[in-house]
Every structure is written in C-alpha cells, then in structure tokens.
C-alpha cells in the first residue's frame, strides 16, 4: 500500500504541475493517468465521479482527486491525492506572490500561453472524444445529448440543473 500511495502522490503531483487552464483542461491528464495507466477507475466510474464532482460544491479537480484517493485508500488516500495535486502549484504561488511584478513582465510566461490557450481547446475535445463512447449506450443517449446541449447553451440553464434533468431522464428511460 505504501508503494501505491507513493505512486498516487507522484501521479497527482505530476497532474497538478502541468494542469494549466483549470478543471476541464485537466481531464485528459486525469483520464490518461487514472483510467489508462493505473486502472484506478474504469471509464464509467470516471464519468460518475465527474458528475459527483460537478454537483457538489468546490473545485472540480479537488473533488475528483479526493474521490479517487478515497476509493484507493480511504481518508489517507484522499489526503495524499489532494495534497499531491496542489503541491507544486502552491509552492509556485507562494514564491511568485512576493515577486509579482517580475512574473507579470516575464516573457516566458506570456510566450507559453500562446501555445497553451489553444491546447486547452484540444485537450477538452480529446476528453470529450474518449468519454463520449462510454456515455453512448443507445439512440436515447444521443437524443438526450442534443436536448441537454440546447438547454445548456440555448436556454442557459445552470450546469447543476442540467445534471439533475439528466438524472431524472435516465431514471425514466432506463428503469
């Protein structure tokens, strides 16, 4: 278990260290590491976890790390995963907060974002691509996808409401 904990800490440390662009841009990293490399969750469990991370308060990535860590080794696992995730960024923030002016003028920081901003788009669609097959079970899921997308983008319903509508629809369709 000690080795698993160490490997989990390092995994989340790695994700946190390169996770530019917030929760959604982190998803392909989470998915590749958690589902493909380590097999800590399968793709369906991964989607269920994301749903839970969405409907509960707090940052999605913290929620996800806590959930995965807890599945592996209860409270200690949750603590190890969450600490790993924030470890590198927190050190960077505390170093930079005392040198804010220098960082703002840094050409390196400005430059890499020319590449990273479009990368977020590609990263997010890559995770849509890989999870979509798992969410698709029959024609009803395709119809539900279109309806929910219209409600979210056209009618601007809150994401939590979208998940609740999907939950009720799932119950009605599949029970």
């Amino acid at each position: 278990m000690l080795m698993t904990m160490l490997s989990m800490f390092l995994t989340f440390l790695g994700i946190g260290a390169v996770a530019f662009g917030g929760g959604y841009a982190m998803l392909p990293l989470f998915e590749r590491m958690i589902v493909d490399t380590h097999g800590w969750l399968d793709t369906s469990q991964f989607l269920d976890m994301l749903a839970i991370a969405q409907v509960t308060p707090g940052p999605i990535s913290i929620n996800s790390a806590t959930f995965i860590g807890f599945q592996i080794n209860s409270v200690i696992g949750a603590a190890v995963a969450t600490t790993g995730l924030v470890f590198v960024p927190v050190i960077l923030v505390s170093l930079i907060s005392t040198n804010a002016e220098r960082f703002k003028k840094s050409k390196f920081a400005q430059g890499i974002f020319i590449g990273l901003r479009p990368a977020f788009v590609g990263l997010i669609f890559a995770s849509v691509y890989s999870v979509a097959f798992d969410a698709y079970v029959d024609i009803y899921s395709a119809i539900l996808f279109v309806v929910l997308l219209i409600l979210l983008r056209g009618f601007k319903l809150h994401p939590i409401l979208i998940i609740l509508i999907a939950a009720v629809s799932g119950y009605i369709i599949y029970i």
Binding site: G58, F103, G111, G115, V121, G122, A126, I162
Partner: protein, 186 residues
C-alpha cells in the same frame, strides 16, 4: 488592521462550502469578501492576482487562496487559506464516496447514472466550445487541432503534448517579437 488567521480560514471555508460550479465560480466571491467587504486587498491588486493565478498550473481556487493568504499573513496565512478552501470539498466528497458504492448496483442508481453520464459529456463539450470561441483565428484552431489529433488519434501522452505546445507558443512569441523589432528598425 491585520486580518486574523481564523477569519482568513473561515472566509475561505465558507466560500469553499457554498460555491457550486467549480473554482471559477468562487472568484467573484473572493472579490466580494476581500476587496469589498473587508477591504484587505485593492481592486487592481485583485485583478493582478487573478491574472497571475490563471497563468500558473493547478487548481485556480487553491492558488488564489494561497496567494491572498501569503499576501495578508505570510506562510501561516497561506496554510489557513489553502486548508480553508479545500476542506469542505474534501469532507463532502469523502462522505459521498463512502456511501455511493453501497448503492451503485441498485437498478435505480444505475439508470440515473446512465443519464448523468450524458450530461457530463455535454458539460465538457460546452466548455470546449467556450474556449474554442476565444481562439477563433487560424493559429489557434490549428494548434487546438494539433493537440486533439496528437492525444485522441495518436494517443500521445497529454504531459508531452502540453510541454510541446508550451514550447511552440514560446517560439511563436520570440519570432513575433524579433519581427516587430525588425519592423521598428526599417
């Protein structure tokens, strides 16, 4: 007047516990609490912090909390703020995770999650569309497509792709800067 560590902790705890919709949704609440309500941070300073936290890797809400904590009370402040903003998620998720898998084989739960998974794909897709709209120029679309193809089609590891795109961005920036200076001299 210096803010107490306890107030720092409870302010972030409160925001962490009651903000739905991820880290970005917390930012206006941080602003209300620390800029408008307690006036510990000036408006301009807050916007600087936002820009810096967005250009660092990690969890934006935690980065923000640690930044504000460090600015106001140093290392202890960072600790109080960071733990404050994370603790509610941590506890709530553990409670849910502990109970979830006892019911996961129940047919109603299976049916509900079948629907919910579709909603998650919709939310991720929609976030992608939102980011895409901010990059609607040839270079942006090309780099986004490159990222997608490398990860989804060629199965290149995202770690590697993020590094590659960062380097590409930096090179584009350097080349652009050299060109501007060349124009200045002409």
């Amino acid at each position: 007047m210096q803010i107490s560590l306890w107030r720092l902790f409870t302010s972030f705890l409160k925001i962490g516990a009651f903000t739905f919709g991820g880290g970005y949704a917390m930012i206006p609440l941080f602003e209300r609490e620390f800029v408008h309500r307690y006036k510990y941070i000036k408006e301009e300073e807050f916007h600087d912090i936002l820009v810096i936290c967005q250009s660092l890797p990690g969890v934006i809400a935690v980065n923000f909390a640690v930044y504000i904590g460090t600015t106001l009370r140093g290392k202890k402040g960072a600790l109080a703020s960071g733990i404050g903003v994370t603790l509610p998620s941590f506890i709530i998720i553990m409670v849910i995770a502990a109970f979830l898998y006892q019911y996961v084989t129940h047919e109603a739960v299976v049916a509900i999650f079948q629907g919910v998974r579709v909603a998650v794909v919709v939310l991720i897709f929609s976030a992608g569309v939102k980011f895409l709209k901010q990059n609607l120029h040839f270079r942006g679309i090309f780099l986004a497509f490159l990222t997608f193809t490398l990860i989804a089609v060629f199965y290149v590891h995202p770690f590697f792709v993020i590094g590659l795109l960062g380097i590409l961005g930096y090179l584009i920036y350097i080349v652009g800067e050299v060109n501007t200076h060349a124009d200045d001299n002409a």
